[in-house]
C-alpha cells in the first residue's frame, strides 16, 4: 500500500534520515521504533507532506506522494496524527470531530462515523461541547485520533501517540489503538514505547540515528536479544 524507497531527509548539513526503505502492506500495522532523534518524525513528516525529502521516493497505491501539498492527502485516504496532536484547541470537541469529516470522501455517513468514534472514546461523547484545548493530554490525543478516524482513512499515520502521557493514560490510548486495529485499518505508527507497540504491530522497523537498523515481524523482534537490550531495556529508552 505504501512503499518508501531510499528516502533521505537533510536539514542543511544535518542528515535526519539516511536512505530509509520500508513497506506497509494493506491491512497491517507497522511500527517504527527508535529513540529521540532517530529520524522517526522526519520520516512521518515526509509521508504527511510536512517535510520535503532531499532524495528518494514515497509511493502510495502506485502514485508518488512527493511534492503533493499536505491538505490533499486526506482526500486520498491518508490521515496523520502528528506529534503535538495538531488539534484545534480553540474549538469544541464536536467541532474538532466535524472538521475531521470536512474532506469529500468523508461527507457521507459522517454521523455514523461520529457514533463509532464516540463508541471508541466514550469520554469524547461526554465532553463534546468542551473546548479541546482545556482537556488533559490524553483526552486531546483521543480528539486527535478520533478526528483522524472521522475522515474514514485507509491509512492512519500516528506520530508518538503516547508521548508525554501518564502511564495509565498510555494504556488507555493503546487499548483504543488495539480496537482500531481490529477494524482492519492499515496503521503506520512511530513510537518510543516499544513494548506496548510490539504487542499490537504485525511488523516493526528499528531506527537508530537516521538509519533503519533492523526489521522483522513484531513477534520475532520482541524476542530478539539485541532488540531487547537496545529498545526494551527500559532505562535505555532516552538517549538524548
Amino acid at each position: 500500500m505504501l512503499e518508501i524507497r531510499d528516502l533521505t531527509i537533510a536539514y542543511g548539513k544535518h542528515i535526519a534520515l539516511d536512505r530509509a526503505t520500508l513497506n506497509v502492506a494493506q491491512g497491517t500495522m507497522v511500527a517504527i521504533l527508535g529513540a529521540n532523534g532517530a529520524g522517526k518524525s522526519s520520516l512521518l513528516g515526509a509521508i504527511g507532506g510536512r517535510v520535503q525529502p532531499t532524495a528518494g521516493e514515497i509511493v502510495y497505491r502506485g502514485q508518488s506522494l512527493l511534492g503533493r501539498p499536505a491538505h490533499l492527502l486526506v482526500e486520498q485516504g491518508i490521515a496523520l496524527v502528528p506529534e503535538g496532536r495538531g488539534i484545534f484547541p480553540g474549538l469544541s470537541v464536536l467541532d474538532n470531530l466535524r472538521l475531521g469529516a470536512i474532506a469529500k470522501r468523508a461527507a457521507t455517513g459522517a454521523n455514523a462515523q461520529m457514533e463509532e468514534v464516540f463508541a471508541l472514546f466514550p469520554k469524547l461523547a461526554q465532553r463534546r461541547s468542551q473546548l479541546a484545548g482545556t482537556m488533559s493530554g490524553g483526552e486531546q490525543q483521543m480528539v486527535a485520533i478520533g478526528r483522524a478516524l472521522m475522515s474514514k482513512p485507509d491509512l492512519l499515520l500516528l506520530d508518538e501517540p503516547s508521548l508525554g502521557l501518564a502511564p495509565i493514560v498510555v494504556k488507555e490510548v493503546f487499548a483504543a489503538l488495539s480496537r482500531i486495529r481490529e477494524t482492519g485499518l492499515t496503521i503506520l505508527i512511530v513510537e518510543q514505547n516499544a513494548r506496548a507497540t510490539l504487542e499490537l504491530a504485525d511488523f516493526a522497523y528499528l531506527m537508530e540515528v537516521g538509519r533503519i537498523s533492523g526489521a522483522g515481524p513484531a513477534s520475532q523482534i520482541k524476542s530478539d536479544p539485541a532488540v531487547v537490550r537496545a529498545f526494551l531495556g527500559g532505562t535505555l529508552a532516552k538517549t538524548r
Binding site: A70, P82, G86, G90
Partner: protein, 289 residues
C-alpha cells in the same frame, strides 16, 4: 435629548461596525493587516457616486454590483500581490510585517489613481435624505438604510460563521492555521476567500457611506483608522466583538459631539483606543490567544 443621541449614535455605529467587519475578517482569516482598507471603501464610494452622477444609476441598485466587484478585486489582489508574501513567510510572523508594508504602499497607489480619476475635491451626493421618524427622532433615510445593511450583513456573517460548515472551516483557519491541512483544508484558498469577503464588505461599507457622507480621495486613512480602532476594541478576528465595538464607538462619538463638542469626536475615539490598548489589549469582548 438622550434618545436622539442613542438613536443617531446607533445608526452611526452601524456603519462603523460594517466598516470594521471586513478588516477583522482580512486579518483574522488571511493574517493580512490591510492598511489600504480605507482606500477599498473609497473606490466603492467613488464608483457609486460616478455611476449615479453620470449614468443615473441609483446607489441602492449599484450597491450589490459594487459588493461583487469588491469580492473580485480582493480575490485578484490576494492572488497577485499577497500570495508571494504568504508563500515566502512560512509559519513565522513575517507575513504580518510584510503585509503591513505592502498594503501601506498600496494605499498610496490607490490614492494616486483616485486623485487622477476623481480629483482632490470633496464629493457628496444627495440621495434619499428625507427624514424618517424613529421613536420621535428624525433620522435621514439613507442613514437608516446603511444601518439596515450593516445589521443584515453583520448578522448573516455571524450566523454563517457559527452555524455552517463553511463557517467552521473559516474559524478553524482563523484559530489554528497550522492544523488545518491535517483535515484537508487548503489554507491558501480559505485565506484568499477571507480576504475577498473582507474586500466585499469594505466595498459595501463604502457604497453605504457614499449615500450620505462627504468624502475625498485622500480621506481613506480615516476609514482605516476607525476600522482598526474598532477591530482592536472588539478583539482582533472577533466578528461579534467588532459589531459591538462599532456600535459602541458610534454611540460614544455621538455622545461626545452633542454633550461636549463635535471637534472632540476623533480625540475621544483615540482616547478610548489608548485605554483599551493599555488595559485590555486582547479587546473588550473576550480573548483570542
Amino acid at each position: 435629548m438622550l434618545s436622539t443621541t442613542l438613536i443617531l449614535g446607533l445608526v452611526l455605529g452601524g456603519t462603523y461596525a460594517l466598516l470594521a467587519l471586513g478588516l477583522t475578517l482580512q486579518y483574522g482569516i488571511a493574517r493580512i493587516m490591510n492598511l489600504a482598507y480605507g482606500e477599498f471603501t473609497l473606490i466603492a464610494a467613488f464608483l457609486v457616486v460616478a455611476s449615479f452622477q453620470h449614468l443615473g444609476v441609483p446607489p441602492l441598485v449599484a450597491l450589490p454590483f459594487v459588493t461583487i466587484a469588491g469580492y473580485g478585486f480582493g480575490w485578484l489582489l490576494y492572488q497577485v500581490m499577497m500570495r508571494p508574501l504568504v508563500a515566502r513567510s512560512g509559519s513565522s510572523g513575517r507575513l504580518e510585517v510584510d503585509s503591513i508594508l505592502a498594503t501601506f504602499g498600496l494605499l498610496f497607489l490607490i490614492q494616486g489613481v483616485l486623485l487622477v480619476g476623481f480629483g482632490a475635491n470633496f464629493t457628496s451626493i444627495s440621495y434619499l435624505d428625507r427624514g424618517i421618524d424613529v421613536l420621535g427622532v428624525s433620522v435621514a433615510l439613507n442613514r437608516l438604510i446603511a444601518f439596515a445593511i450593516c445589521v443584515l450583513a453583520g448578522g448573516a456573517l455571524v450566523v454563517a460563521l457559527q452555524k455552517t460548515r463553511w463557517g467552521l472551516i473559516m474559524r478553524a483557519v482563523a484559530l489554528t492555521p497550522g492544523s488545518a491541512p491535517l483535515v484537508g483544508i487548503d489554507v491558501n484558498r480559505v485565506a484568499r476567500q477571507g480576504f475577498a469577503i473582507g474586500s466585499a464588505l469594505a466595498a459595501t461599507a463604502g457604497a453605504s457611506i457614499s449615500m450620505y457622507q462627504t468624502f475625498s480621495a485622500t480621506g481613506g486613512v480615516v476609514f482605516t483608522m476607525k476600522a482598526l480602532v474598532i477591530v482592536i476594541m472588539g478583539g482582533v478576528g472577533n466578528v461579534p466583538g467588532a459589531l459591538a465595538a462599532g456600535l459602541a464607538l458610534g454611540l460614544l462619538e455621538t455622545f461626545v459631539a452633542t454633550a461636549i463638542d463635535p471637534g472632540l469626536t476623533l480625540a475621544a475615539t483615540f482616547a478610548i483606543f489608548l485605554l483599551v490598548l493599555l488595559w485590555r489589549p486582547q479587546g473588550l469582548f473576550g480573548a483570542r490567544t
